[in-house]
């Protein structure tokens, strides 16, 4: 399949205009000694649409997850995606455009970004937001980087209730930046060690990072920690689950300086790991520290209202090595999806989705807790909770995958969260179970019945 539409005759005409007789002459600067090896790859032609579609259908048949009833979460959730989102984002004026550097041709994208920023502010309670970041993990890093620059301090104190994947990403991203990361283990049930955490916060810390609900699904109110941080000039960063924010205290209500999070739950498919959406919200006073693009209201020469990318002097294409971040391409189309999701689902809808998730999770927790030998956390939760099984969690997950239509029972804590706890806590039997509005009572009941069977075996 070729998308080159220039005919051989036209090619000859173009070569003539260029003053050469063959295309090879245009590559005269490439030394012949550096030509690619003459192997079969470069001799192979392409497939037709029909062939490539058949190949991809064959590949999807090798994925065995479609029929599974999933209780997987860990920061990435199987929420319902209204059909209108795909329909709208399929408008190619949105998805085949680039960054809105020419505002006169990009008012659609620019207004959508401005509205998206407004949605993030309304959801988190923060004053400003940006056009998006790659994902929830890099959003935490960017927030820490803002705090380090703002406070001129180098230490970041992180609760181990923050998604373990994000904690690893934070280390990978800050390895070259002379940033010290201090991590505080959670207590045995998965909740914040308030004393230990507060003890690690001193006036050499640039920021603290907490997550709500945390990796084990526990909902908290971090206002007390925020107050202590303020006394020591330490900035506060909270990573949040946007759907939960319909019901739980916002980062702003708890006094946080920066709110970040993963926006996947807002109408973005799971897609085996991405693309996702990092969001960030903060205070107006920190706008010049913010990474990435920001859309702002503007007026044209005739006083007509519109939008532009603003404060570009913070960004890499102008400030180069002194930019607030190296981010350029971000997650614009995912941000558009999140914006459409929040617009469609609306004020009451988001509260309903969150309540459905919460009620079903509470129901699932009660039922799972009634299975002999199983212990469940009694902590306040949103839609995810920690289960202690009388058997290995990985083994249990494997067994449940093979019964009924197949259940994805949850995330074995040892797989990602083995390092969250202090010494002496064994995570082998711990399972993290998530429930969204898509799970029915029937599915939950069947899951619990099968779990009981597997445990008996």
């Amino acid at each position: 399949m070729s998308y080159v539409s220039i005919t051989p005759e036209q090619r000859q005409e173009m070569l003539r205009v260029c003053g050469v007789s063959a295309i090879g002459e245009l590559f005269a600067d490439v030394p012949a000694s550096l030509a690619p090896p003459a192997d079969e790859f470069w001799e192979t032609g392409g497939l037709s649409e029909l062939e490539v579609l058949a190949e991809c259908e064959r590949l999807t048949s090798k994925n065995h997850t479609a029929a599974m009833t999933s209780f997987l979460g860990g920061g990435f959730y199987d929420h319902y995606i209204p059909a209108a989102i795909d329909a709208i984002t399929s408008r190619s004026e949105f998805y085949t455009s680039y960054t809105p550097y020419q505002p006169e041709l990009s008012q659609g994208t620019l207004q959508a970004i401005y509205e998206y920023q407004s949605q993030i502010c309304r959801l988190t309670g923060m004053e400003i937001s940006n056009a998006s970041l790659y994902d929830g993990g890099t959003a935490i890093f960017e927030a820490c980087n803002m705090a380090a620059a703002h406070t001129s301090r180098r230490k970041i104190v992180v609760d181990k209730g923050v998604n373990p994947i994000y904690r690893k990403m934070l280390r990978a991203h800050s390895a070259g930046l002379d940033i010290e990361i201090v991590e505080i283990p959670v207590l045995g049930g998965g909740s914040l060690d308030r004393g230990g955490f507060a003890g690690a916060v001193d006036d050499s810390a640039a920021a603290v990072v907490l997550q709500n609900p945390n990796f084990f699904g526990i909902v908290d109110d971090h206002s007390d920690i925020v107050d202590k941080c303020k006394e020591k000039g330490v900035m506060t960063i909270q990573s949040v689950y946007p759907v939960a924010l319909a019901l739980i205290k916002t980062p702003a209500e708890q006094g946080f300086d920066i709110a970040v999070g993963e926006g996947q739950s807002l109408g973005i498919p799971l897609s085996f790991g991405g693309p996702y959406l990092g969001f960030i919200g903060t205070k107006k006073t920190l706008v010049r520290r913010m990474p990435g693009r920001i859309a702002a209201r503007a007026e044209d020469v005739n006083g007509k209202p519109g939008f532009v990318l603003s404060l570009q002097a913070r960004e890499q294409h102008i400030r180069r090595e002194k930019a607030t971040s190296n981010i350029c391409t971000n997650s614009a189309l995912c941000a558009l999806r999140a914006h459409i999701y929040l617009s469609l689902i609306g004020k009451e809808g988001l509260t309903e989705v969150a309540s459905l998730c919460h009620n079903k999770a509470i129901y699932a927790r009660e039922r799972i807790g009634s299975v002999p030998g199983v212990k469940v956390s009694k902590q306040p939760i949103f839609n995810e909770f920690l289960v202690e099984l009388p058997m290995g969690a990985l083994e249990c997950v494997r067994a449940l995958a093979g019964v009924g239509g197949g259940f994805a029972a949850g995330i074995p804590a040892g797989l990602f969260g083995g390092d969250c706890f202090g010494a002496g806590v064994n995570t082998d039997n711990m399972l993290i179970v998530a429930v969204t509005e898509k799970r029915t009572k029937e599915e939950i009941d069947s899951f619990v019945d099968n779990l009981a069977q597997v445990i008996k075996l």
């Binding site: 080159v4 539409s5 295309i23 259908e57 990009s106 693309p275 009660e366 797989l415």
Partner: protein, 489 residues
């Protein structure tokens, strides 16, 4: 046009949800509960569809018309790629499934892992590198990842190197990414006569502190540096590594592989070279390829192919067992659906098709340059690669700058090229036509540019007033920065 929140009508709904079917009606305990629900808008599905359709009509994409934005490779995005990426068997997979092994030792997600494995392999063949990671989520993120891998390599060797050399024509992300990995940036001047990094300038800037040299080849002036092997040798003689910014790979497929030219690390922009859409500013994907000496430092998890006795074909596993790895840079395996689209694109091209892509991209850029050289100054009038850089210096003398030319193009129905970049050329107009545009489209663009050049002589004021055909005229960016209205609250 009204902001979406201004269209909100109390008690209007866009989505109806199923009733609660469990016998629980719980509330979050008050201590943890939000005081009042977020003030989201209340609109119907039709309201939303109309709102966003109206917005889309104020936008311009590759599907609208020619989009010769230099350095961005705005080529046509095949529709089949979107269709395949949307297939439930790919789009619906929770990433944790990739880490769960079935009881029989097989993977839940063999199909998706095959896509990732095959794409890594194809990118190695295209670039001449030994190993790839697909994790980086955009070009700049790939640059950061590449620099972090280089830093880890030097740390492991006990090298205390603090500087990265970058030619002055580089993309802004290069210095910014080097800084993000903890390096100081030393800028090397491009030769004003040849437009490329010359050996003498490199030698003068090199010393033991240099950890890496970051290059774009062809560079942002659209020029290929023929002495790349010598540059590599010089860098390597200081135990510095050579980094390839793959933003311009569309020029050179089948003609040159960075791996053969002495490059140690390369990042690619799948959303440029491999036809995945730019999405209005993302998501993209920025895979990073390395030579085998750097493979131990690539991000984990890495995809490992294992063949087990008695079974046909490989099976795949994600492994964290790389003690020298820089750690994960993405939550899972990168922007999978972007990678999938690029995989489909490469399958449809084949090696032969990719060579044709680069040949046509280069021919089209040269065709534009030669067709416009009598009307605009060309700072380096020699064969260019996939993009050509002109300057509006001549027009600027009459008060018509690169920005005015850009706005004039808008009035002629064409998206402007990149302007004022690269920084080493005054009044730069950086034009990248890509291979997917027809000769008729190129000729329309050329005619529009000639018309503008004439206009700059006869009626410069009309260009300074442009655009007048768009919903809005030029926007006041200074006032916007002062007002800082960035959210409707």
């Amino acid at each position: 046009m009204k902001i979406i929140f201004e269209k909100s009508i109390k008690n209007r709904r866009g989505v109806t949800l199923p009733k609660n079917d469990v016998p629980v009606n719980a509330a979050i305990p008050e201590k943890y509960a939000r005081k009042s629900p977020p003030e989201l808008c209340e609109i119907s599905e039709l309201d939303a569809v109309r709102h966003f359709t109206a917005l889309s009509r104020k936008n311009y994409g590759v599907d609208t018309n020619f989009y010769p934005l230099g350095s961005c490779t705005m080529k046509y995005n095949p529709k089949i790629c979107e269709k395949i990426a949307g297939m439930g068997g790919f789009a619906g997979i929770h990433p944790v499934f990739g880490r769960l092994i079935m009881n029989n030792g097989a993977s839940w997600t063999h199909g998706a892992m095959t896509v990732l494995h095959n794409l890594e392999d194809l990118l190695c063949r295209i670039t001449g590198m030994d190993a790839f990671t697909l994790q980086p989520m955009a070009g700049a993120h790939g640059e950061f990842t590449g620099m972090a891998v280089i830093a880890a390599y030097h740390r492991k060797k006990g090298n205390r190197k603090t500087v990265v050399l970058i030619p002055d024509e580089a993309h802004g992300t290069n210095p910014s990414s080097a800084a993000a990995a903890g390096y100081k940036v030393r800028t090397v001047p491009t030769d004003p006569k040849t437009g490329i990094l010359e050996i003498e300038a490199l030698k003068a800037a090199m010393d033991e502190n240099v950890a890496a040299v970051m290059m774009t080849n062809p560079n942002t002036l659209g020029l290929f540096n023929p002495r790349i092997k010598e540059i590599a040798d010089i860098a390597h003689s200081y135990d510095a590594l050579l980094y390839y910014d793959g933003a311009n790979l569309n020029a050179i497929m089948g003609k040159f592989r960075p791996g053969d030219g002495g490059f140690d690390v390369v990042h690619l922009n799948l959303h440029k070279t491999f036809g995945t859409p730019h999405g209005g500013g993302g998501p993209g994907a920025g895979p990073v390829g390395v030579k085998s000496i750097l493979e131990p430092f690539l991000p984990v998890p890495r995809l490992a192919a294992k063949s087990s006795a008695g079974k046909t074909g490989a099976h795949f596993e994600f492994s964290d067992d790389y003690p020298d790895s820089i750690g994960p840079v993405a939550p899972f395996y990168g922007n999978f659906s972007v990678c999938l689209k690029a995989y489909v694109y490469i399958l449809m091209m084949g090696g032969k098709g990719l060579t044709e892509v680069s040949e046509q991209a280069v021919l089209s850029a040269n065709y534009i340059m030669h067709s416009l050289k009598d009307y605009y100054d060309v700072p380096f009038l020699k064969t260019c690669m996939h993009e050509c850089v002109l300057t509006a210096k001549r027009q600027a003398e009459r008060g018509v700058g690169a920005a005015d030319i850009a706005k004039g193009l808008i009035d002629r129905g064409i998206h402007p090229p990149t302007v004022y970049f690269p920084l080493v050329v005054k009044e730069a107009l950086m034009i990248e036509p890509t291979e997917t545009e027809s000769k008729e489209t190129l000729d329309e663009f050329i005619a529009a540019m000639i018309d503008i050049a004439k206009c700059a002589e006869t009626d410069p004021e009309s260009l300074k007033r442009a655009p007048v055909t768009t919903p809005l005229g030029r926007l006041n960016e200074a006032k916007a920065a002062k007002d800082m209205d960035v959210a409707f609250l």
